[in-house]
């Protein structure tokens, strides 16, 4: 059976990280590659959607207005109000921008003809994370002062003094290195793996379609998996956008909290 497969065509080349790099659409600048163009497009889409949905704001909302308000209300109430508490209002624009931006760029992964989640390039999650990082440290330092902030962070009350030698560096590392690292890596990893999975089933199906007749049958299964997984991916993409925003809100809430 296997010799039949090998006779017909060259061996199957599985998708790899090389599939995530594109040549510039025009010119030679990296600014003209697909991910960058998608990011720019996402900004246009978001601005257009919310401008149009809010333009004819009415007491009895149109469907579009309702959709826009639903997204805003979700970020404002479920993420902002529930997590940050009293002072949530001034962080809502920030959280809302993160959520819509990440969500739109993630969903590009399953939109036909785009089919590339921008966040599967590590640079994009990292740059959003840098914003979150700066904001939550800035908020904490402004509210508590640098000294008390570090003291509260590294020396939690109710622990024998000698143990601080062991605990303090770990706490410090958690706040300054591991939190931003996990924030960026999780989003990147999920989008990267998801896209790779879809590529595998699509390319595999295509390969089998070109093979011997009885193998063609399995191509249907492979394409079916690709379609099924696309819907699954949509769930993951929305969930990751939510978790990213939620954790940003949690870090800000932690920065604002008076004591643990």
């Amino acid at each position: 059976m296997s010799h039949l497969l090998h006779m017909a065509q060259p061996a199957f080349v599985p998708p790899s990280s090389a599939d995530f790099f594109f040549n510039p659409a025009f010119g030679s600048s990296f600014l003209a590659t697909k991910p960058v163009l998608l990011v720019m497009f996402s900004v246009i889409v978001i601005v257009a959607f919310f401008t149009i949905s809010a333009r004819k704001a009415a007491v009895v909302p149109s469907r579009l207005q309702f959709a826009g308000e639903m997204v805003y209300g979700f970020v404002r109430n479920s993420i902002g109000k529930d997590v940050i508490g009293e002072e949530y209002q001034r962080f809502v624009p920030f959280l809302f921008a993160i959520f819509t931006f990440v969500l739109t760029n993630n969903l590009f992964g399953v939109v036909p003809f785009m089919q590339f989640p921008t966040m599967s390039h590590i640079g994009f999650p990292v740059s959003i994370t840098i914003f979150v990082y700066l904001v939550y440290h800035y908020v904490a330092i402004k509210k508590k002062g640098l000294g008390p902030y570090l003291k509260e962070m590294c020396f939690m009350p109710g622990v024998p003094k000698a143990v601080y030698v062991i605990l303090a560096p770990v706490e410090f590392l958690t706040y300054f290195a591991v939190r931003p690292l996990t924030l960026a890596m999780r989003l990147f990893g999920n989008m990267f793996a998801g896209h790779l999975l879809l590529l595998l089933f699509t390319l595999g199906g295509e390969y089998m379609l070109k093979s011997a007749l009885f193998v063609k049958f399995f191509a249907i299964l492979s394409f079916g998996m690709a379609i099924g997984l696309s819907f699954f991916e949509m769930g993951i993409q929305a969930l990751q956008a939510y978790i990213f925003t939620l954790l940003a809100a949690l870090y800000i809430a932690g920065a604002l909290a008076d004591e643990h």
Binding site: I79, I166, V170, V178, R179
Partner: protein, 67 residues
Amino acid sequence: MATTDDGAFWTIIAYLISGLGFWGGMGYLADRFLKTNFLTIVGMGLGMVTGLYLIWIKFIKETPPTK
């Protein structure tokens, strides 16, 4: 509530990683300088205990009983 559960999950992961990373790294460096070979493991063990201890403080000790 689901929101705080998600947050707790990632806080726990972060503590485990940084505990393991910091003290494991310290053990590794100590091994390098002292030309020994057991301190990395000792450090990783210490780091894990530290991570779990911090989680215990954050989530069990400081949480008032619900009833």
